[in-house]
Chain length 192, copies 6
Amino acid sequence: MAEQVSRFGAVSLDELPDDLRERIGAIAEKAGFVPNVFLALGHRPAELRAFCDYHDALMERETGLSKAERELVVVATSGANHCTYCVVAHGAILRIRAKDPQIADRVATNPWSVELTGRERAIVDLALALAVEPAAFRADDIDAARDAGLTDEEIWDVGAITALFAMSNRLAHLMSLRPNDEFYLMGRVPRS
Amino acid sequence: MAEQVSRFGAVSLDELPDDLRERIGAIAEKAGFVPNVFLALGHRPAELRAFCDYHDALMERETGLSKAERELVVVATSGANHCTYCVVAHGAILRIRAKDPQIADRVATNPWSVELTGRERAIVDLALALAVEPAAFRADDIDAARDAGLTDEEIWDVGAITALFAMSNRLAHLMSLRPNDEFYLMGRVPRS
Amino acid sequence: MAEQVSRFGAVSLDELPDDLRERIGAIAEKAGFVPNVFLALGHRPAELRAFCDYHDALMERETGLSKAERELVVVATSGANHCTYCVVAHGAILRIRAKDPQIADRVATNPWSVELTGRERAIVDLALALAVEPAAFRADDIDAARDAGLTDEEIWDVGAITALFAMSNRLAHLMSLRPNDEFYLMGRVPRS
Amino acid sequence: MAEQVSRFGAVSLDELPDDLRERIGAIAEKAGFVPNVFLALGHRPAELRAFCDYHDALMERETGLSKAERELVVVATSGANHCTYCVVAHGAILRIRAKDPQIADRVATNPWSVELTGRERAIVDLALALAVEPAAFRADDIDAARDAGLTDEEIWDVGAITALFAMSNRLAHLMSLRPNDEFYLMGRVPRS
Amino acid sequence: MAEQVSRFGAVSLDELPDDLRERIGAIAEKAGFVPNVFLALGHRPAELRAFCDYHDALMERETGLSKAERELVVVATSGANHCTYCVVAHGAILRIRAKDPQIADRVATNPWSVELTGRERAIVDLALALAVEPAAFRADDIDAARDAGLTDEEIWDVGAITALFAMSNRLAHLMSLRPNDEFYLMGRVPRS
Amino acid sequence: MAEQVSRFGAVSLDELPDDLRERIGAIAEKAGFVPNVFLALGHRPAELRAFCDYHDALMERETGLSKAERELVVVATSGANHCTYCVVAHGAILRIRAKDPQIADRVATNPWSVELTGRERAIVDLALALAVEPAAFRADDIDAARDAGLTDEEIWDVGAITALFAMSNRLAHLMSLRPNDEFYLMGRVPRS
């Protein structure tokens, strides 16, 4: 079916305020296409700006979790939340960051039982606890992560990324946001 | 029990970067105290800045939902998510905005069955659908809101505020964030 | 909204049989008002009488749990069951019994993660297990309470109060029972 | 396995206060045995007395729902709550009251989809709504029952019996209450 | 109510292909009646044949779990799945295999908390984990069964029987399959 | 991680009985590899034979649902059940059958809200009702499918395939069955 980008329409890059056009334009240049989320949020520039700032503050941070681990949190919680846009888009990034063409499908389909290293399992268990049953989140969950060797900075990263994508997933569900075609194949086949 | 502000500690206003100290300082001056969420997020200034920007873009917006309706979305979804900080803090604001000393307790305790006007019920039902069962969110949910007279801008507001507090609630659960004492009584007794 | 006391109407004190009028009258005299639950159950005097008897047998008992601990069980399970009448009315009593103006909001909003003493946590965990997932209740739940130092008499109190309010909560949901205005503020401000 | 009557022990008929010994004795004489619930609650005479009063006020009531319909509510909700004592004991009574040797097994195993008359289905649907998801109980549930022809008195009966057995089921789970052997066969074979 | 055998009709023994008529006929001769499941699946002989083959491969296997233990898995998971046909029909077989007239009602009504031997509890816990929350099934579940002394062959039996009745239960729900009258009483009364 | 094929080991094609070696061999020849499920079930030839028979009876059937629609049922319910093997393996087949490189990821990630044609939506809704909440399956679910134009034969197909994969999914969870590498890319890129 010819699915629309969003239930609430989408802007073109040209319609964005200068700072956002430049910022999103740089992403588009690197990726080869404009990820739909930016065009779909574009009708609310202040919200899009805060979204990009929050995303970058957590996903581009240099210390703490590795880039692949950050994407692992995103794909695991987006899988648990059944968010198609985030699973497809961040699944692509996870494949690239982890240099593993299968990891995104395995993590997104079943984050609870996918085989992972001990550290990755601790990260994903912490993220799932906060994503799916936040009311039952207790000191025990923090302690289990510490026991697995995560620092408090890393625990914060896991929790804050989980929280950010609790928001992103719901925005995507609200819009019925369509993933760009390009994401589906990224990181699946070796570049020749 | 002498509960700490956050599992991850809290900064003082003085420790914040200039722009944030000024921004949070202005809020504190108006409220008479510094809401704990700002001090607890203060160890990550970039995240706090994005948090404030996102919050203001949605909660201070002049058109669309009324201020009281925006707080209604926050309290209903925070109640469904069992988030103590957001229920207590935004419950206080809702009481003030709605000029109703009972509404926050009634909405937070049971957002599903609390008696509301038709428009408020449509707002809360839309918010709960996205907050609690996002995977099952469908065009039907949007249509029901439109049938109740909400515009697409208002529907976006409901959805985006729900999404923002899906994040905020989880940050508060992560930190076991303690509400300021002042919030508990605000809006409950008439100012003389 | 001008909400009715109950979907099924309410009697006045005068309409009750003598024994109940006297009994409820004494409560009203002490409280300063007639709690709505009595007027709403009044159309079925035999049921109201049994309700009062069961309530008093468990909530006025002199040995075992303290009065504040009994109310803690009520507020925790009524919070988990999202029962507005019981949260507002017994929240008021808990504030008074525990001499803590914040405890009711904190326990009712999130009984699973609220910070409590070890003994209180054991009481609340036992109550939640029986209130929310009774089918999965096992000897392990009893053992955990015993390990925390509860006697079998105290364990019975926790379980029986939880059971009584599983009933009360559902009666209140059936009636959409409205809490009296007076309960909202009781125990929140120090008496001068 | 030689299962005990209750985790908390059981009294003998002789150990009960006079009024209860007489009252339970009359039941035992009619049934041919003392139902375990009375002996297991006997260590708390005031609670047992209130339990019997509440039970009789609702289950022995002459107007409104038929006796068989009252037991239908008990078996349906006790099945949904997975309460072995109540399913086995009240299943026996339902078989006798409804003069149907199969109805209890069918209703208890799956109250949601068991084939029933329209009136019975309305009764069971109302009961299940209140028993299983009380927080989501709304005026719609009442309206559906009215549309099926139930009077407000009958709706109250359904709701109040559901509430009473929300309590009874949890007491039985608390005690791991063992059904008497006699209940298993009652009403299954025609008396010759 | 005169309930039909299946929403999709039922064939007679004569209408089955020769091999199935002979196979089902032998079962009927032994039981004294034709279990409805065979006549209800008869409109799809290839599916019925595979169903019988799968059933016999697992339920008639000579090594590993005892016959009674195999039926225990069926009744426990069918109870958790609220499948009336399988609870009634296999409940009858369990009563006979376990020589216990009460076990089926107790296991089917509440497989989570029914008192069992340690080995039986391990079998039922493993089965319930896979039946009810398959996505969360982990190596821990297998390890707990091994710790209770189950061999890998026995663990396979438990898992595969659970899987087979996840299918059978859903077929019965699809058809609203009616249990034969004969099953209700089988194994309840001692043969004289 | 170098994940094993199954927790319970795997046979080689040579170890299978003649009929199964031939049958699986033919599949392998066509696919270019032996799907792991056959080797993992191979230690129980009678079960593997019944599995293949049941699968072929439903998935190779010439009338009723199209081949793509049958795979749609498999991928939707396996997504809801979070079964990695079935999502990856049957996702590949669905892409090929539906000639759509994106459909499997979209359906598996969120079968509840993925945009589909009216007929496909009716098929998926029926399948999800039976897969996820079988106890609540009612005549209404059948009626909704009929209203969308499905014949009773097609409804049976949807229900029976759903039931078969309720079994297959649980077998895969039991084994922690590893999808073959080949499945991940099949049907994603146009053959040149």
